[in-house]
């Protein structure tokens, strides 16, 4: 590179339509969707619709929060769906005393949550270890658990559906606090914590710095490897919680299905929410809005009689469009 190219000049760049679209596209889309539904979808403006959409979007948002952090460092985590199924398989085994007898049901549920989420966190840490220690590309490193993770869950349960009736546990998915579904509260708490971490803590700043310029971060004294380890562990943690929410809603755990395709949903929520897939930026609120947008598109299509299969295709198109718009906005 020559001096001439290095000497960046300050120019007021003309406003780029893609930049605007990348920045406000999600909000615009969300507003348009709501307006459309208010006009065309019957019974849209009801509490029930809100509840249905919030409940369904919860697990995606929970996973996507972890994914946002991972992507902000310039990485990716393909294993989230598999980790959900492991966590979802493990918890019932604990609270139904299949592994070891536990007398007190509250103790059993607490242990189940701790063990299930703990294992998922450790597996996330394992991802981070592969990436930080061996410098394996994140896509490849997390592919290992993407492939093996669901198998582990299936082996643990022998592929069988675990059904249960444990209200103390199902509260996670079915309970309400002040009329708000409990999992929505879990989701909001995670969103708020993550948004706070990104904005207010040293750790959050370090995540963004690594994604923005890993070399400069290392030279500024940031422990790049450590931050990456933690970030992937957090992604595992979020996936673990999401797995519990899913099985609690269903009152059953099917290792074959829990979290299936979640990696795409989560990545899509992040991309639609305006976080660059190349790292360096993170908008947790954007991710929340992104997930809501995707969910609302699905809901709109389904509520207006479009088959689920078409909704899938639409979702794919939206994801690609969002990623593309992001890239255009940045390259300008």
């Amino acid at each position: 590179m020559t001096d001439a190219t290095r000497a960046t000049v300050i120019e007021r760049r003309p406003i780029n339509p893609f930049d605007l679209l990348a920045r406000y596209g999600t909000v615009i889309a969300l507003v348009l969707l709501i307006v459309f539904n208010l006009i065309f979808t019957t019974n849209f403006a009801t509490l029930q619709t809100l509840n249905v959409n919030l409940t369904q979007v919860c697990t995606i948002v929970i996973v996507a929060v972890g994914m946002t952090l991972v992507i902000a460092t310039g990485g990716i985590d393909l294993s989230v769906g598999s980790l959900m199924s492991i966590s979802g398989a493990l918890a019932p085994m604990v609270f139904m005393s299949k592994l070891f007898p536990i007398g007190n049901i509250y103790l059993a549920v607490a242990l189940a949550i701790i063990i299930a989420v703990g294992v998922a966190t450790l597996l996330g840490l394992f991802n981070g270890w592969l990436i930080a220690r061996f410098r394996i590309q994140p896509i490849i490193a997390t592919l290992v658990l993407f492939i093996a993770g669901r198998g582990i869950a299936q082996v643990m349960t022998n592929g069988q559906l675990q059904t249960f009736k444990v209200p103390e546990f199902q509260f996670i998915g079915l309970g309400r606090v002040l009329g708000i579904p409990f999992q929505v509260i879990v989701m909001l708490v995670l969103v708020i914590i993550a948004a706070w971490v990104i904005r207010k803590t040293v750790f959050g700043r370090q995540i963004l710095a690594i994604g923005g310029n890993e070399k400069a971060s290392g030279l500024s004294g940031i422990a790049v490897k450590k931050v990456k380890l933690v970030v992937y562990a957090v992604s595992g943690f979020c996936a673990g919680i999401a797995g519990l929410v899913v099985i609690a809603i269903n009152s059953a755990s099917d290792a074959n299905l829990v979290g299936l395709g979640m990696e795409l949903d989560a990545i899509a929520a992040v991309a639609v929410g305006g976080t660059l897939l190349s790292g360096g930026r993170a908008s947790i609120i954007g991710t929340l809005l992104g997930a809501l947008t995707i969910q609302l598109v699905r809901y709109t299509l389904l509520a207006n009689g479009v088959p689920d299969s078409v909704a899938q295709v639409a979702q794919a198109v939206i994801i690609i469009a969002a990623v593309w718009v992001q890239q255009q906005g940045r390259s300008a």
């Binding site: 990716i76 290992v144 093996a148 993770g149 198998g151 299936q154 299969s309 899938q312």
Partner: protein, 322 residues
């Protein structure tokens, strides 16, 4: 230098040795393991996976990945089932055609829109699945048994299962393309260093496009075999096929970052993982322990882990060498 050489040896011969050991183990431990029936069913059943893995092999050699192959196969099976009354040729054309289309869409997203391969193909995985369900009306689509279409999956020719013959021909062609055409060498060059390949004047985008289109077409062909074998187009089949394909390609020593790969070793990888499944079945048949089929993907992941760490060390060793 010796370390790299060793790693390459392990890459190309390791899978063959493992395959031989596994077959020997099965032969010594189980009755009828090398019986004609068992061999034929292993070949018949694994042909579809072999076709998908062949396409994946080319894509991975360019440094990319194709996660859509499983649902493309499902889509191909539905298309083939609808075309099956017009005969086997129509079925093949229909199945392969939809695969080629998806492959082309993948290629456009990756080379023109510069979307990362795994995101582009994750999206097309979703879209192909949706399209398959839509075409099939959320049901499996029965094939015509009168037109001779089912021969593609169930028939024999000179005593060999026809799907296995199809897969063999595909692998021979794949081997020829990789080793004896400029395009094949271009695939490896682009995967090894896209920048260098471009400076050498190779049409990198065209080469990548060919790889994704081939992968789509082969996945579509696998779908044709699937429909013929099970007598129906299966819109919800193909889940996890991409994982099987990736695992067999990587176990065969193909570098996940691209640039190094072998068609023959990929076939060995498919057979290794396929026969492993058979061994599990036989072991369960003995009745001493019961290992579920789910161990397959765990074992696949374990294989992948070992290979990926070995490869990472190999690459690290190369870059620190001065």
């Amino acid at each position: 230098m010796t370390r790299i050489h060793l790693a390459r040896m392990v890459g190309s011969y390791g899978v063959l040795i493992a395959l031989a050991l596994l077959i020997l183990f099965g032969y010594l431990r189980y009755e009828n393991f090398l019986g004609l029936f068992n061999i034929m069913s292993v070949l018949r059943y694994n042909s579809m996976f072999a076709l998908v893995a062949l396409g994946m092999c080319f894509v991975i050699m360019t440094g990319g990945i194709d996660l859509s192959v499983g649902t493309v196969a499902a889509l191909g099976s539905v298309a083939a089932a609808y075309a099956s009354p017009y005969g086997p040729v129509a079925g093949v054309v229909a199945g392969v055609a939809v695969g080629l289309v998806v492959g082309l869409i993948n290629a456009v997203m990756i080379t023109r829109m510069h979307i990362m391969p795994f995101i582009a193909t994750l999206a097309s995985m979703l879209a192909a699945s949706g399209t398959a369900l839509l075409l099939a009306n959320n049901r499996s689509v029965p094939v015509s048994y009168q037109s001779g279409f089912t021969e593609l999956g169930q028939g024999n020719f000179i005593g060999l299962p026809i799907p296995a013959i199809i897969a063999t021909i595909a692998f021979i062609l794949g081997w020829l393309v990789l080793n004896y055409t400029a395009t094949g060498r271009g695939v490896l060059a682009v995967g090894g260093s896209e920048e260098s390949a471009k400076l050498m004047g190779l049409p990198a985008d065209r080469i990548k496009t060919l790889a994704y289109v081939a992968s789509g077409g082969l996945a579509g062909l696998a779908g044709v075999v699937l429909a013929a074998q099970f007598g129906a187009g299966q819109p919800i089949e193909g889940v996890g096929w991409e994982l099987f394909a990736i695992a067999s390609v990587v176990v065969g020593g193909t570098l996940l970052t691209g640039g190094v790969g072998s068609v023959g070793a990929t076939l060995a990888g498919v057979l290794l993982l396929g026969i492993l499944f058979t061994v599990l079945n036989f072991e369960n048949g003995l009745g001493w322990i019961s290992l579920s089929a789910y161990w397959q993907s765990v074992i696949r992941g374990a294989f992948l882990l070992v290979v990926v760490i070995l490869q990472a060390r190999l690459v690290a060793g190369e870059t620190t060498r001065t």
